[in-house]
Symmetry: C2
Subunit: 469 residues, 2 copies
């Protein structure tokens, strides 16, 4: 008869084997564990039992095989910037920190692609590419790892022109739940050779496999870049300008919405003095002639929608200052209320419904007892409300929850999604059935069971628990 | 004790139930069945046992439920233009012809999307959109149905600018193997809400579910369009021009390669008198200013690679004539040898390897006893050899098979794919393991088993049989 092993004993035995395998690159230090059980949002820390630092795909496979033998969860960790509780060890388990897998493995300049280990960050890759005339375009703000960005289908301010990770991942190397190593695709720019495994793993948040290498598309550095700012009388005219710009096929590099409250926060945090009104930040990129034409077209559209006060930033430094301010929005909001936490919503809707959705969200948050502001990747129909709450105050958390639920409900009614780019984690799992329908979520469950029958890969994420939704 | 029912009796009983369900929209006429058991390539006819013509998603679901009850295969049929035996009823079964599901269900001009029934063809959709200023961009040449294009991840001449069906499908309605109806996604332009079911079904060739409705992205009609032709001293300089054009970020609308033999065939078939040399067909699209700039940039690149004889086609009629000639290439080749069949290869490689792959393929075909020529969507690294063979002559078939096998082997060694846009069907299934590795193909098998445990959805397609690869 087999001796019954307690869960604690089982985990301890696993950690011992991981130590034998990885030496000091497996740790149970409390601070390390806590760091690996949190992202950057309101979700409470749920620390894993141990943290491993592999150096290669083969080591990740070894870790996963040991976890599978012990039936213990594994959670991949990139830069720790996720926002929906992706990293919470809801059932304990082993965190696999990918940051030491930081090698750029190949740059194929002629083919416009690069292959990196999953722990390479987007800024690191772009620094590596500096002398090639090429760059990696996706910019979620945070200096996330490429593996994390692929796993959460990240996008950000440049998606209006270059798409999201869905469009920019060429191929992945993935460790499956049983430790097998799979290459999802060739380096061909397009293929119709079987099921699209690449897109299956992009956005699967470590629940179907662990991404260890990423091949991404690169783009040529534009000849010139120009930023512009323009303010509007109201949200509707701001969004209308964005819609008309997209409809005219102007390939803007970026097109970001900030409401008056967001501009106020950014002004204070970054020492700017922008007019506190609904605003669009533009970036134009291309040949000088193309930029001139595009600027003119967009200025005309904006004027038609009552725009005031165009201003341009042509110098690299001035542009960097502007976009830095936009990217610091999250921290600008936090600075309004030291010690508080920023809850970022993430609805994405067909653009025709965007203005109404943003206006309703702002109206509902107007009398909240905490700071709130709206920003948006408005060309894609994606916007974020930031609620700066005291997570120790249940009333504030409940209010933010109600605001988010109302905003999600409205987005789904408009034919949109509860999460444009932050992913599901466990924070949004409750909305999955409302968005996709029970049948589609059942199909997702079939995929999960087929690829991870033990449910050891980031359990409790993406798919709602039986009592949710 | 249950009476044993023969396969024939079982199918007959199913057909009787389908007749009761659909009346005359279920037929067993020999000519209908034979028409539905062939595509447009060299694969022999394998007729289904009956053909059904549903009018709605619910009717498709009803047909699939009946087939599942009787454990009989179902094969979706669009325009019948597939090239790798996708439609062959290898194990008999029911063909579901989608052509009467031909309704454009919604056009959302502001959101740049449209939802259609799967039997709507791309030309039909574009005719419907004529007055909106918008168009559907993917152009595989054939007037395929949108459902068929999604199912095979089609692309074609416009993919260099607009991407493939992978990038242009927003959402699908799919009937699963048990008759359940699944909507794969919202209409949001981007989402990170769970597994990418849309991309899972795009390219699955009716083996994971039957696509009944398709929501696609639309694009704004460009202000102006200009075509140009340019000839080169050899294949390498032609391809180099295409690579440099892509690297410079010139957003060409189309950029097509034809070798001297292809030009000869096209000249003869379409009454043109183009110089019989390696050639690029270009299309530029955008504002007049942008087109002027792009033309100049590309002309300079081409000159640097030894180009001769630029000529332009600015008028709509002249342009249409040129592109019609390109699109008629398949028929131009057939016209070289009346009664013969055109076998189209479909490798796609990283562009740095493209010239060598095309040159080797042409060299190997030079002494073949049948006409052969090369064309390519050269900005994507995708090229097709056309072998015009007598399928009644086993020696010719064997030679074409050997040529294709060598070409595929070379493409895979270069990091490419055996099929850029034609799909797998059963013609390419034998190459899937060589391209993806046994582990990745095993993952595909797990997906297939999870979603179609009875193996009734287009069996024998995409995944290799146990004795292949």
């Amino acid at each position: 008869m087999l001796r019954q092993v307690s869960s604690q004993e089982n985990t301890a035995a696993l950690v011992e084997r991981l130590r034998a395998f990885l030496g000091e690159r497996c740790t149970t230090s409390v601070s390390e564990r806590e760091h690996h059980g949190r992202g950057e949002s309101y979700h409470p820390v749920r620390a894993p039992d141990a943290v491993c630092y592999p150096l290669s795909t083969e080591e990740v496979a070894g870790i996963v095989r040991l976890c599978a033998e012990h039936d213990v969860p594994v959670i991949a960790f990139g830069a720790g910037t996720s926002l929906e509780g992706h990293l919470a060890a809801l059932k304990g388990g082993i965190s696999i920190d990918m940051r030491r897998m930081d090698q750029v493995l190949a740059v194929h300049a002629e083919d416009l692609d690069a292959t990196v280990q999953a722990g390479v960050t987007r800024k690191q890759l772009n620094a590596h590419l500096r002398d090639t005339g090429l760059f990696f375009a996706i910019d979620p703000g945070a200096d996330a790892t490429l593996g994390g960005m692929a796993a959460t289908r990240a996008s950000g301010t440049a998606a209006v022109r270059y798409g999201t990770m869905r469009e920019n991942v060429v191929s992945l190397t993935v460790v499956m739940a049983d430790g097998r190593i799979v290459k999802t695709a060739s380096r061909a720019r397009k293929s119709s050779a079987g099921y699209d495994l690449t897109r299956l793993f992009v956005g699967s948040e470590g629940t179907l496999g662990i991404i260890t290498e990423v091949t991404v598309r690169l783009h040529g550095q534009p000849e010139a870049v120009r930023a512009a700012i323009c303010t509007f009388p109201d949200v509707a005219s701001t969004v209308r300008t964005a819609i008309e710009t997209v409809q005219c096929g102007v390939p803007v590099g970026r097109m970001e919405f900030l409401d008056a409250a967001a501009i106020r926060a950014v002004n204070r945090h970054s020492g700017l003095s922008l007019a506190e009104a609904p605003t669009l930040f533009f970036e134009f990129a291309g040949s000088l002639a193309a930029i001139a034409g595009e600027t003119e077209t967009v200025a005309e559209i904006a004027r038609g929608n009552g725009a005031q006060g165009w201003s341009f930033a042509d110098g690299a430094e001035e542009r960097a200052r502007l976009w830095h301010a936009r990217h610091e929005f999250h921290y600008a909001m936090l600075a309004l209320r030291p010690g508080a936490t920023a809850w970022a919503t993430d609805a994405c809707v067909p653009v025709s419904a965007l203005a109404a959705c943003i206006e309703a969200a702002c109206r509902e948050a107007a009398d909240a007892p905490f700071p709130a502001a709206a920003v948006g990747h408005v060309g894609d129909g994606n916007f974020h409300m930031s609620y700066v709450i005291d997570t120790g105050d249940p009333a504030e958390v409940a209010r933010a929850e109600r605001l988010n639920a109302a905003l999600v409900k409205r987005a789904l009614e408009a034919g949109g999604t509860c999460t444009g780019e932050h992913g599901v984690g466990y924070g949004k799992a409750r909305y999955l059935v409302a968005e996709h329908g029970a049948e589609a979520v059942d199909v997702m469950r079939l995929l999960k069971s087929a690829l991870d029958p033990q449910n050891i890969l980031n359990p409790g994420k993406v798919l709602p628990a039986a009592d949710e939704g």
